[in-house]
């Protein structure tokens, strides 16, 4: 990849082409529970902007530029009062839309305050999350439900994890299913798994074939390999604009979603939204947990800074607590916990991986396709003002799911997917098609 393309793809600050693309979509930025009614506002850097999330005593949620529109003092110190947040410097007050609603330092306040407004994101609370749209279009574009409304809200499990690297690096790990057999399960022989189980087939063949297909919302792929007599084991994954993925962690059809939210060019937040899940796959045939899957890292307390939420103790400075001893005796990576293993490799590439340096192989097809797709969409938006995939049509995200499935060799996995899709949809829905 050319250095210019890498820059184009990765930079998301205000005024960048990819930043403009990101600002066409609704993105999950916080857990609802992070914002306490009338409580302390929360500093958040999102898409390179320093914003403040807060919930008024009445329960309304705002996400606004942190600077008071008067003289730039940070509203992070502000008083969270009825109807809005008040700057402690001169008492100006702003509601959740950024509108100035009180200006006690001005004699003729009513007229003046009406003209003063802080840049603010459009905000929706849904599924236990605060979602934000940072673009300028009003009304904001339609909100995509994915299929999260198809599962009971109290069974939705949400995890946030900070990654100290560019968002695209993280995302690329999600659509790279082959790393699982190495990074997470390296050195574990297929014989350790129940013959015929998915882990059995995955570990017996570490070089699956790939098919990746563009879709109206992004792309779909299957990584498939032989699964006994005349059968193929398919791992179907999704990528959804601008930075959502669905990884094949469970049997095909479970509702789940991951988002790589760019905090700035060199930091991102992985937001994992899981519906109800089947029992964990990370066990061997005796039901023992797989080595190295213990633990999810040690979460540090939020430090109140712009990038201070959901960070793990495991980081580059301590080699993600990799143990050379455990590497010889327990597992392949010497790192505890699948998520920490993922984090270690993507952070180790540097804040923004130098994609002029890499050598992509046959297992990186989905990655190459995703990059092309994102580049094209960002260019068309920048040059022609073309609305990027899915931004204007939330219905495209409906009945899109991922997962693994074993099918006869002669069966077209995409046809089966489309059939299942109608089932999830409860009625007819446009088929996904192979183009060219």
């Amino acid at each position: 990849m050319r250095a210019e393309d890498n820059e184009y793809l990765t930079r998301i600050g205000p005024g960048t082409p990819m930043g403009a693309l990101m600002r066409c979509y609704w993105l999950p930025v916080a857990k609802s529970s992070e914002l306490e009614a009338g409580g302390a506002p929360v500093r958040m850097r999102i898409l390179g902007e320093n914003l403040l999330g807060f919930r008024t005593p009445e329960g309304a949620v705002g996400l606004i530029d942190h600077r008071c529109k008067h003289r730039c003092a940070s509203l992070a110190y502000g008083r969270n009062e009825e109807g809005g947040i008040r700057c402690i410097y001169h008492g100006w007050k702003f509601d959740v839309t950024g509108q100035c609603i009180d200006m006690p330092s001005e004699p003729d306040e009513s007229e003046f305050s009406a003209r003063v407004r802080i840049p603010a994101a459009a905000v929706i609370e849904k599924f236990g999350l605060v979602w934000a749209y940072l673009g300028s279009q009003r009304p904001a574009p339609p909100f995509p439900l994915f299929d999260l409304d198809q599962v009971p809200e109290d069974q939705i499990e949400i995890t946030f994890l900070h990654r100290a690297c560019n968002w695209l690096q993280g995302l690329e790990g999600d659509i790279d299913t082959v790393h699982v057999g190495f990074l997470h399960l390296g050195g574990i022989d297929a014989q350790n798994f129940e013959k015929g189980s998915t882990n059995y087939y995955r570990q017996s063949n570490l070089t699956p074939h790939y098919e990746a297909i563009d879709t109206p919302y992004g792309a779909i792929s299957s990584a498939y390999r032989p699964a006994g007599e005349g059968q193929l084991y398919h791992r179907v994954a999704q990528i959804l604009f601008p930075s959502f993925t669905m990884a094949p962690q469970d049997p095909l059809g479970y509702v789940k979603l991951r988002c790589w939210l760019p905090l700035d060019d060199e930091n991102s937040m992985l937001v994992i939204i899981d519906g109800p899940r089947p029992p964990t796959q990370a066990v061997d045939k005796e039901g023992k947990k797989l080595p190295g899957f213990f633990g999810d890292g040690d979460m540090l307390p939020h430090d109140g800074g712009w990038l201070g939420r959901y960070r793990l103790k495991q980081c580059l400075a301590n080699n993600h607590m990799q143990s050379r001893e455990l590497m010889k005796t327990l597992n392949y990576s010497g790192i505890m916990g699948g998520r920490v293993q993922d984090q270690a490799v993507v952070e180790s590439m540097g804040p923004i991986a130098d994609r002029t340096y890499e050598t992509l192989g046959s297992s990186d097809r989905m990655i190459a396709r995703t990059r092309r797709r994102l580049l094209k969409a960002a260019r068309e938006l920048a040059e022609q003002g073309a609305s990027p995939p899915g931004a204007a049509d939330a219905s495209l995200y409906r009945s899109i799911r991922s997962g693994f499935i074993t099918l006869p060799e002669t069966t077209d996995w995409l046809a089966i997917f489309n059939e299942k899709r109608r089932e999830w949809h409860g009625g007819p829905v446009a088929d996904l098609e192979r183009t060219r």
Binding site: H179, L183, G350, E358, G361, S362, S363
Partner: protein, 429 residues
């Protein structure tokens, strides 16, 4: 004083910069040999602004490869060091000690070997000598001349290399190593100036504290220069420190003939960070490595002996009370290197040499800069590699401190066979 442009020319060492390209013509000492254990943890190495990983393979050979995996740039420092190669934990690609990709298990078996052969990687040369791993990261297919200093030919137990890490540009480190005029001040400690020439104080540090304005003379050599710092003593002799400077990195510190010897090497990590090697050795007998490891430091870490040095936020632990009570620098209970490092860091990451005002004691600094500027311009013009060439026998390049009757010429002195006054061999007081 230097113009802003010349300062940038001398200090910037990234790939593509003139000084960076010149430095890429040399063998660079980057890590202690003992640090790398066969099949043990790989070591991240940044040098000249680029990131690498050093590891010792199962058969004992040292590998030096780009930190980024050739596949998708995950760090090879996380890799599995096994079966004579380093295997990336992300997708299992493996490189050997020469940087060749030898396995790509994510590729279909039938074309795996061919695919692996085609993966482009950069290859580097490695040489182990004097307890150090030296690397060559330049472009030439034939590695450059190796500066086979005396210590590189000694048994490892005769050499004790310790690595200091400083948060400033390499030239600040080199200049501090060159500047012998500071010794009588910065390292004065708490002692009163000793009596000149008395029996008890015939030590080198006593001479240096006693006479803070030595006369300097120089002789430019193909590899850099020799410097003589001449101090007249009251007994009619003079005390002269003859130092060898092998540009661009090495300063050989003068010591009395029978003592252990010290070589400093200032190697750029990047524009704003440097390694300062303290390589102590004894030409005749084993050296007490454990002693030097703990000498004036609490860290006990031979790969970062000054890791407990602190930083500007605490003024490096400077003790103002001790200064009132007579300690010169307020850096108490530490070896001299701490004082050196602290003043270098205090100048800022890259000191602005257009703001300096140099005097008589700084002639050595000016000379070194002049030689470096000439060399880097010539290298830029026609690729001439200066200083370290096969024409010099570095095994015979040694520094020495000597005393001899005033009026005699230091230039004829052979550091391996110097004139010797009776008391110069007495142990230090």
């Amino acid at each position: 004083m230097l113009s802003r442009e010349d300062n940038a020319l001398l200090t910037r060492v990234g790939a593509g910069t003139p000084m960076g390209e010149m430095m890429r013509e040399y063998w660079l000492p980057v890590v202690r040999s003992a640090r790398l254990e066969a099949d043990g943890a790989p070591e991240r190495v940044r040098v000249l602004g680029e990131d690498f990983v050093a590891f010792r393979a199962s058969d004992g050979r040292v590998g030096f490869v780009d930190e980024a995996c050739p596949h998708r740039c995950a760090s090879m420092a996380l890799g599995r060091n096994e079966e004579n190669g380093l295997r990336c934990i992300f997708h299992g690609w493996k490189v050997d000690v020469e940087g060749r990709v030898v396995d790509c298990p994510t590729e279909p078996e039938e074309r795996r070997a061919r695919f692996a052969e085609m993966v482009p990687t950069r290859r580097y040369r490695v040489h182990e000598a004097g307890g150090l791993v030296w690397v060559y990261i330049g472009q030439r297919s034939e590695p450059p001349a190796f500066p086979a200093f005396e210590f590189t030919a000694l048994p490892v137990e005769n050499v004790a290399p310790l690595r200091g890490l400083i948060k400033c540009n390499w030239l600040q480190a080199l200049e501090a190593a060159l500047d012998s005029a500071h010794v009588g001040f910065l390292h004065a400690r708490g002692g009163k100036a000793p009596q000149r020439g008395t029996e008890v104080h015939r030590t080198e540090s006593a001479f240096m504290r006693d006479k803070k304005d030595p006369k300097f003379e120089f002789e430019v050599m193909p590899y850099g220069f020799k410097e003589a710092a001449i101090r007249d003593l009251s007994d009619g002799n003079c005390y002269t420190r003859i130092r060898q400077v092998v540009l661009p990195f090495f300063s050989l510190i003068p010591r009395f003939p029978g003592d252990w010897r010290l070589v400093l090497a200032s190697v750029p990590i990047d524009d704003e960070n440097s390694i300062q090697w303290y390589i102590r050795y004894d030409a005749e007998k084993p050296i007490d490595e454990a002693f030097f490891r703990k000498f004036g430091t609490d860290s006990g870490d031979p790969d970062y002996f000054n890791s407990d040095m602190g930083d500007v936020t605490t003024m490096w632990g400077q003790d103002r009370q001790a200064m009132k009570e007579g300690h010169w620098s307020g850096i108490v209970g530490r070896q001299n290197a701490y004082e050196d490092f602290i003043v270098q860091e205090s100048m800022g990451r890259i000191v602005d040499r257009s703001r300096e005002y140099l005097g008589a004691a700084d002639v050595v600094i000016s000379l070194a800069r002049r030689l470096l500027l000439q060399a880097v311009r010539k290298h830029q013009e026609d690729g001439t590699v200066p200083f370290i060439t096969d024409d010099v026998d570095f095994g015979r390049v040694r520094s020495v401190s000597v005393t001899y009757p005033q009026g005699e010429n230091w230039r004829g002195i052979d550091a391996f066979n110097p004139p010797e006054l009776e008391w110069t061999r007495q142990p230090a007081a």
